[in-house]
C-alpha cells in the first residue's frame, strides 16, 4: 500500500499545500522549521487518526485557523484506491472520512493503513523505562488486532474506575470491598485478554527481531524479548507454569489472585499496582540484558531492529505493506550505516518510505531519482507556491 497524494490545509506550517509522492522512497529535505516532519505527521494522522509528535490535536492547527484538514489518496494492489480525509476543528473535534463516507467508529479504521515511525526517540525503547516498551508493543498490537485495541481500551477504562474508587475511599467498609472486588473482576476480564495476546505474539515478534538483526548485518547477535507480567510470572520461560502454556481462564484466575494479594497495598497507595499497565518487556542480546551493557550505537541499532520487526509483524498480520516514516532517523548514523538502511528499504522491503533529514548527502547520492523515488526540496516547493 502507498499514499499517492496528500493535501493539507491549515495544518502546522502548511497553509494550503499539495504534493504527489513516489511509490517507494520519498526524500524530503529543506531547512529546519520548513515543515518536513509535518508531512510525515499528516500521513500518520490519516493512518492512525492521531499524531506521533503531540497528543494534543489542537496544537496542529495553524495559527489563525479554527480547524485543519488532511486529505490523502491511498493505493493498494495498484488498482484499488481509497481517499481518506481527517478534519479536526476546535468546535466539533475529529471527523474521519473514507471514500467520502464518515467513519463513526474511528477504531475500525486503525490497522487498515499500517504505519511504522522511525525517529531518534526510538532510542528510548531500548534505553528508557518500561513504559516506552509497553507503548511500542501496544501500538503494533493495536494496529494488528481490533480486538486487542478494544480489550486495551476497556482495560484502561476499568482501571481508571478502580483507581478512582481507591482514591475516593474514606473507610474500607464491606460495601467498599465488594465494589473493589467488582472492579477487580472487570479489570481482570479485559486485562487478562491483553496479557494473553501480548504473550502469544511475543514469540512471533522475536522471530522477526531475529530476521531484522540479520538484515542489518548482525547475524551473530541473538536477540530475545522477554515479556514479564506480574500476575502470570515469567511465562516466556515457563518458570511459573512449569513450561506449560496458560489458558485465558488460568490467566484470569492468577490475575484476580494477584489483585486480591495486592489489595491492602493498593488501598494504602490508592493505585492498582498489578496488571498489564505495569508489565515489563525486557530485551536480551546473547542472553544479556541490553539495558545494562549496550553502547549508544548498539541501542540505536536495536531500536532500528525493533522497528523493522514491527514492519514485518504488521506486514504479516495486516496483509499489506506498512508505510515507513523515517523522521530524522539517520541523523546520528555514519554514512555506511545509512547506505545499508537505504539498500534494505529499496531492495528488500520494497515498500513506500518517507525520509526527512537535514543532511541528505549520502541518501541523495545512492538513490536513483525519478519514479518510483522522489526527492522534494521543501524550500523550493514552498518558494514556488508563494510566487504564484
Amino acid at each position: 500500500m502507498y499514499i499517492s497524494d496528500l493535501t493539507l490545509s491549515a495544518f502546522r506550517a502548511h497553509d494550503d499545500f499539495k504534493i504527489s509522492f513516489g511509490e517507494r522512497i520519498n526524500l524530503i529535505t529543506g531547512p529546519n522549521g520548513i515543515g518536513k516532519t509535518n508531512l510525515l505527521e499528516a500521513i500518520h494522522y490519516l493512518c492512525l487518526t492521531k499524531s506521533f509528535v503531540s497528543a494534543r490535536d489542537a496544537t496542529a492547527i495553524r495559527e489563525g485557523s479554527d480547524e485543519f484538514v488532511i486529505r490523502g489518496r491511498f493505493v493498494d494492489g495498484g488498482t484499488q484506491s481509497r481517499s481518506v480525509s481527517l478534519q479536526y476543528s476546535k468546535a466539533t473535534g475529529k471527523t474521519l472520512q473514507v471514500n467520502k463516507a464518515t467513519v463513526e467508529r474511528v477504531t475500525g479504521h486503525v490497522g487498515l493503513l499500517p504505519v511504522v515511525v522511525f525517529s531518534p526517540d526510538d532510542y528510548g525503547i531500548t534505553a528508557g523505562g518500561p513504559e516506552e516498551r509497553r507503548r511500542f508493543l501496544d501500538n503494533m498490537l493495536c494496529q494488528a488486532s481490533k480486538t486487542y485495541l478494544a480489550d486495551l481500551q476497556n482495560f484502561r477504562h476499568a482501571l481508571k474506575q478502580r483507581n478512582s474508587l481507591l482514591v475516593q475511599a474514606t473507610s474500607h467498609t464491606a460495601t467498599f470491598r465488594s465494589q473493589l472486588d467488582a472492579w477487580s473482576s472487570e479489570v481482570v476480564r479485559h486485562g487478562a485478554r491483553v496479557i494473553n495476546r501480548r504473550r502469544t505474539d511475543i514469540s512471533l515478534i522475536n522471530s522477526y527481531l531475529h530476521d531484522s538483526l540479520e538484515q542489518l548485518g548482525l547475524a551473530n547477535e541473538v536477540p530475545e524479548m522477554r515479556y514479564r507480567s506480574v500476575p502470570v510470572g515469567d511465562v516466556d520461560r515457563g518458570t511459573s507454569s512449569g513450561g506449560r502454556d496458560l489458558s485465558l481462564e488460568e490467566i484470569e484466575e492468577r490475575y484476580f489472585e494477584a489483585l486480591v494479594e495486592a489489595g491492602s497495598n493498593d488501598m494504602a497507595r490508592r493505585r492498582t499496582s498489578v496488571g498489564p499497565h505495569r508489565d515489563e518487556l525486557e530485551l536480551f542480546v546473547n542472553g544479556r540484558p541490553l539495558r545494562n551493557y549496550a553502547s549508544q550505537g548498539q541501542h540505536r541499532t536495536f531500536a532500528m531492529a525493533l522497528k523493522l520487526a514491527k514492519y514485518h509483524y504488521l506486514y504479516k498480520l495486516c496483509e499489506t505493506k506498512p508505510i515507513l516514516l523515517l523522521d530524522d532517523a539517520f541523523d546520528h548514523l555514519d554514512p555506511e550505516r545509512i547506505a545499508g538502511y537505504i539498500h534494505l528499504i529499496q531492495d528488500k522491503l520494497e515498500c513506500q518510505a518517507f525520509i526527512t533529514t537535514a543532511n541528505p548527502g549520502v541518501i541523495e547520492s545512492i538513490v536513483q531519482w525519478g519514479d518510483p523515488n522522489r526527492h522534494f526540496n521543501l524550500s523550493v516547493m514552498i518558494g514556488a507556491l508563494e510566487k504564484e
Binding site: 480486538t147 478494544a150 477504562h157 475516593q168 465494589q179 472486588d181 467488582a182 472487570e186
Partner: protein, 206 residues
C-alpha cells in the same frame, strides 16, 4: 431576526434545549407548531406538564408510573418470580416493546461509576435486595430468578458482577443477558468487538 414574533423566538429557544435538537431543527419544529390546530397544541402542552405533575416512581420497581404501584408490578398476569434488573426506565420500555417478557422489573437508576461519583448507595440496590429477601406488599410470589440486563459495557458489567455477588446468599438464580450479533444484522457491518465476542460465545447445534 427581531422582526419576527417574540413568541416564536421563545418557542425555538425552548425546543433547542432538547437533546439532539439544533437551531435549525428547532426552527422547523416551531414552524410546524404554528400550523398545528389549536386543540392539538393544547394536548401537547398538557402532556408536557402532566409528566412533571402526575408521573411518580413505582415504590416497588422504581419505574416511572402514574399510579403506585405501577401497572406492571400490580398486574396479576405478570410472573412476579422473574425480575429483570435494568439501568433506566427507557430500558423497561425497550424490553416491553418485545411483548415477550412476562416477568417484572427493577430499575436501578444508573450504574456504579466511581469516575462519576456513583456508588451502590446512589442506586436502588438496597430495595432490590429487600425484594428478594422478602416480597413486598402486593408482590405475591417469591423471586426465583433475577435477570441482570445492564448495558454490556465496562460499568454495566461491573454493576452486574457487584449485584451477582450481593445476591449470592439468597436462594435465587442470577442470570446475565446474552451478548452477540443483532438479529437480521449483517455480519460484515458488525463492530469487531461484538463479532469477536459472538464467535467466543458460539453455541453447538446438536
Amino acid at each position: 431576526m427581531h422582526k419576527t414574533s417574540e413568541s416564536v423566538q421563545q418557542l425555538i429557544e425552548q425546543f433547542s434545549k432538547l437533546p439532539s435538537i439544533g437551531r435549525k431543527t428547532a426552527q422547523r419544529l416551531a414552524a410546524f407548531v404554528l400550523k398545528m390546530p389549536r386543540n392539538e397544541v393544547v394536548e401537547m402542552a398538557e402532556a408536557l406538564v402532566a409528566v412533571k405533575d402526575r408521573v411518580k416512581f413505582c415504590s416497588i420497581c422504581h419505574n416511572v408510573t402514574d399510579h403506585d404501584p405501577c401497572s406492571i408490578c400490580s398486574s396479576d398476569r405478570r410472573d412476579a418470580s422473574l425480575v429483570c434488573v435494568v439501568e433506566e426506565s427507557s430500558d423497561v420500555m425497550a424490553i416491553e416493546r418485545t411483548n415477550d417478557f412476562r416477568g417484572i422489573y427493577h430499575v436501578l437508576g444508573g450504574v456504579i461509576s466511581p469516575l462519576d461519583g456513583v456508588g451502590p448507595d446512589d442506586l436502588s440496590i438496597r430495595s432490590l435486595v429487600a425484594r428478594i429477601a422478602a416480597p413486598a406488599e402486593g408482590e405475591s410470589a417469591t423471586v426465583r430468578e433475577v435477570i441482570l440486563a445492564m448495558n454490556p459495557d465496562v460499568e454495566g458489567d461491573t454493576t452486574a458482577y457487584y449485584l451477582s455477588q450481593l445476591l449470592q446468599p439468597f436462594d435465587v438464580t442470577v442470570t446475565r443477558i446474552a451478548r452477540g450479533l443483532p438479529i437480521g444484522g449483517d455480519l460484515e457491518f458488525a463492530d469487531e468487538a461484538t463479532l469477536a465476542r459472538a464467535i467466543e460465545g458460539r453455541i453447538g447445534l446438536q
